[in-house]
Every structure is written in C-alpha cells, then in structure tokens.
Amino acid sequence: MKTLGYQISFNAKRVFLRNFNYLFFTILMPIGFYILFTKVLISGTTAQELVFAKQYLGSMIVYSVLINAMFGLGQIMQNDRQHKLLSALSLTPRGTKYYYISIGIIMSLVNMLAIILMQLVAKLTWHINLSLGESITVIVIAVLGTLPIMGVGVLSSFAKTPQLTSIIANLTVFPLAVISGLWWPISMMPNWVQTIGKATPTYLTSKMINLAINNQSLPIHDIMGIVIWTVIILVLIFVLIKLVQKSGELKNDQGTAV
C-alpha cells in the first residue's frame, strides 16, 4: 500500500498538478467549448437553448474523457515507455504493477473532477440543477461508459514513437467527436455516418448521460453496447501486450542462448 500511495502521489504531481497543458486540454478546453457553444454560438428560444445545453453537457463530458484518454493517458504511458521509466521499474522487486494501478486511479480521478466541474459550469451558466443522485449517476455512466475509450488510449501508447501516438490520438479524437455527435448534433450527419456514429462508445455514453440528466431509464442495448466495446478493447490490449512482449524480445534479443 505504501508503494501504491507513493506512486499515486508521484504520478499525480507530474501528470496533473505540475502539468498545465494537460489540465488545459483535459478540463479547461471542454469547459470553454461548453460555454462557447451554449452561450455564444447559439440561437433559438430559451427552452430550445436549455434543451441543447443539457444535451451538450453530456457531449462535453464525454469529449473531456476522450481527450484525457488519447492526449493524456496514451501519451503519458508512451512517454514513460520511451524514457525507460517502465524498464527501470520492471527491474525493481515491486515491478510495474503499482505504476499501472496508480495511473488508472489518477485518470479516473481526473475524469471525475472534469465531470463535476462540467456539471458545476452547467449549473452556473444554465441553472441545470442535478440532484446528488443524478450527479453521481452521470459520473458512474461517464467513468464506466468511457472505459473502452481509455482502453484505446492505452492501445495508442504502444506506438513506437511519441509522434505516432500523437497522430493516432488526433486521428481518433476529432473524427470520433464529429461522427458520434459530440460537437454537432448527430442528426446533421448523413444517414450512413449516423449509423456508424450511433455504434461508437462515445455516442452511447453521451446518450446515456443525457437520459440520466433527464431522469429517464437506460436502454439495456446501450449498456450492452458499452460492455461489448469494453470486451473488444480489452481483448485487443491483451493481444497487443502479448505481441509487444514477443516483438520486444525479437527487437532486444532476437538471439537466443546457444
């Protein structure tokens, strides 16, 4: 526990508390987008605007987690692998186990903080008052619903260079945000794009958050969609770890003892 405690404190300071860029892109930028799109670039009756502000709250919560997964988690892990921190830890008796657990905990806490702050901004700007139960439900849906997205972040960290991880992040975040209706309503997209978009974990999570905000029950097929995505991504991570271990051996010791 002492090792885990220290790892959490060590990683929290370098990843979050002393890293303004990370704080900006993960938390402040989605909040800025929310204010911009619901207060500045909006037209319609007050009732219509309120409906949009509620809907957009879910979108920006998911967008914040998406950014955290791809530009936060993926790049931090890639960087640590690149700079041999993981190699150095793997040679110690406690290994890398606590590193991974602590990064997982910190990412979840950052996600929760982003969600709470987003709810607070919605309350201050649009008087969207969620009860404690609703607020917690939104947090739970957002954290669990975006597990596959966090998994994609982990997958991107296996790229060979930081540049490649960055390219993967850019090619994932922005198309995914557009086709799953996080920036603009999905109904504005062509039918075929909507079909793809509605199958993405980002759309499913954003939809469930909106249902929770509006006190509606969650459809079982949407929950199942998230479960299926999570399983798929976990299997991919498992396969990739095995492949990396194998190719790592090939790269480092293509040879054998003879």
Binding site: K13, D253, G255, A257
Partner: protein, 295 residues
C-alpha cells in the same frame, strides 16, 4: 568468499551474429569488477543477460545463487543505466524516493541525498538538471534500494572532476560494505584505479580476466625519463631499450621490459637525476590487445 555472479559456458547469438561465445566467469561477493571492451564487443548484451533483461533460457547464469530476473535478484540488485531517465515535472527528491518505495529494504532517501551531496538540488525538477547532476541522481536512485550487487554502466560520463572524485570515494565506501560492483566505462584509468579485477571482452570472448597487476606484468613496456650529462649512445644498447631520445639534458627511454632496463641503469644511477618510470596504462594495453584482435 561466495560467487555473486557465475557464468558457465554462456553463449548468446542473434540470427546473423554470435554475440557472446562460451563465456565462463566468477565474480566474487564484495568484488569490484571492471568490464571493458570496444563498442560492439557484447558488454551490454552480457549485462542485460545478467540482469535478466534478456533471457538466457538454459541456466548458464547464476546471480546471488538465483536466476537472473527472479524476485530475489530484483531485491538485491540495482542498476545505474548508461542513459539517464528523463522524467518531467518531478523533483530530484521525489525521483529518489520513488525507487526507495519500489525496494524491499531501502536506505533512507534523505541519507542518500545528503551523502551524495544532492541536498542543494533536491527540490529541483529533473528536467532542469545538468548532465553530471543527472548522473548523480541516477546513481542515487540505484543505491537507495540498498543493493548487494550494483551494475554501473558508464557511471561518470558528464561528471566534473570533483563530482567524479566524490563518486569514486563513495564506491570505496560501498566496497567496505561488501557490495559487489560491476562497472563498464570508457574511462579506463578509473577502472584501473578502482577495480579488483578486470575482464576485457572482444568479439564475444574474454581476451583477459584477472587483476590489473597481472595484466601489466605481461605487458612490461614502460618509459624512463631522467636528466643526465651522459651521452645518448650509452643508453641505446641497454637491454630491452627500444629507443632513446635526448633533448638537452633530458633523456627518454622506451623499454619493453622495465625490470631489465632498470637493472642495466643501476651502474649509472649516481649520474641520473629526477628519474620517473611510467609503466604502460590499462588504456594502452587495452588498445594494443584489441587492435591485435582486429587483425
């Protein structure tokens, strides 16, 4: 004395190249062992195998009576890597404490910081340090785990003269604590001073394993320098003298057997002043040996 590291007939090959070829070696507990060799000799591969970073599969390596990479070995072994870890937004103190937290029986990080003279920079961010400071921090992060066996890969690169001196002083302290230390370095004069034994690795084979003194006795070249009023021709035909150079009163003799030449100089000793005898350094012996291997 027990063996800290034992290699028995260790070979290792990449698909197109054999890197290590039937190596046998015992490094005793508490010994300081210098591993030298030209680039590409197989030093890094050997160290990676001993540490368990690479797998030897067939039990040809024993480290502290266990297999490389086992938890027991990880508890007792630490490494100062050639490349320093570059972790942003972390202070020196936090970095050293991380490795203490990862260890089973660590030293007190505060003590290590103090002993290595890192107190002044302990709150500085790692990414703001100079190359020499980063080496010191890497060393601190290795020894904070309180290892019985320590690998030092090019430990003094980038360190200034004073830091280097303090570093070797600390190594002597670890020797007194019976820590086994394996050092690879391109600064051969440092290895010559500190190592109990050395191994010269070339093309995957040990060309020499033993003490520096024994190696030097097999390479008895040396240089005599003195002031004299005697004629140069008197020295050119002395036993083992290869050349004699005179500049005013200063004479320099190159000998291929310093003991023999010294005996021959004794009859003239009253007329020789300010005599210095320089025997061949590890570096020149190393270059001689490894260049021979090239041809």
């Amino acid at each position: 004395m027990t063996a800290a590291i034992q290699l028995k007939n260790l070979s290792f090959a990449y698909p197109n190249k054999r890197v290590l070829d039937h190596l046998n070696l015992q490094i005793q507990s508490g010994e300081i062992f210098g591993l030298v060799g030209p680039n590409g000799a197989g030093k890094t591969t050997l160290l990676n195998l001993i540490q368990g970073i690479l797998s030897s599969h067939n039990h040809t390596i024993t480290v502290l009576d266990s297999q490389p990479g086992s938890t027991i070995v990880k508890e007792k072994v630490a490494t100062m890597f050639q490349d320093d870890l570059q972790i942003n937004n972390v202070t020196v103190r936090e970095f050293i404490k991380l490795f203490a937290a990862q260890a089973t029986h660590p030293k007190n990080p505060e003590t290590v910081i103090k002993e290595l003279g890192l107190t002044d920079i302990q709150n500085q961010l790692m990414n703001k340090l100079s190359g020499g400071q980063r080496r010191k921090v890497s060393f601190a992060s290795a020894i904070v785990s309180n290892p019985q066996l320590l690998f030092l890969d090019e430990p003094t690169v980038g360190m200034d003269a004073e830091t280097r001196q303090n570093f070797w002083r600390y190594i002597e302290k670890l020797r007194q604590q019976n820590v086994t230390i394996v050092i690879t370095s391109h600064y051969l004069e440092e290895i010559q001073k500190v190592a109990d034994r050395i191994a010269i690795l070339q093309d995957g084979q040990f060309r020499y394993v033993g003490t520096w003194q024994t190696l030097q006795s097999h390479h008895d070249n040396g240089q005599f320098n003195f002031n004299t009023q005697l004629e140069r021709s008197l020295f050119t035909h002395l036993p083992a003298v290869e050349s004699a150079t005179q500049t005013d009163a200063n004479m320099t003799l190159i000998s291929n057997d310093t003991d023999l030449t010294l005996k021959a100089l004794l009859p003239f000793i009253d007329q020789l002043h300010d005599i210095t005898i320089t025997r061949e350094s590890l570096e020149s012996i190393f270059l001689e040996m490894t260049n021979k291997g090239d041809h």
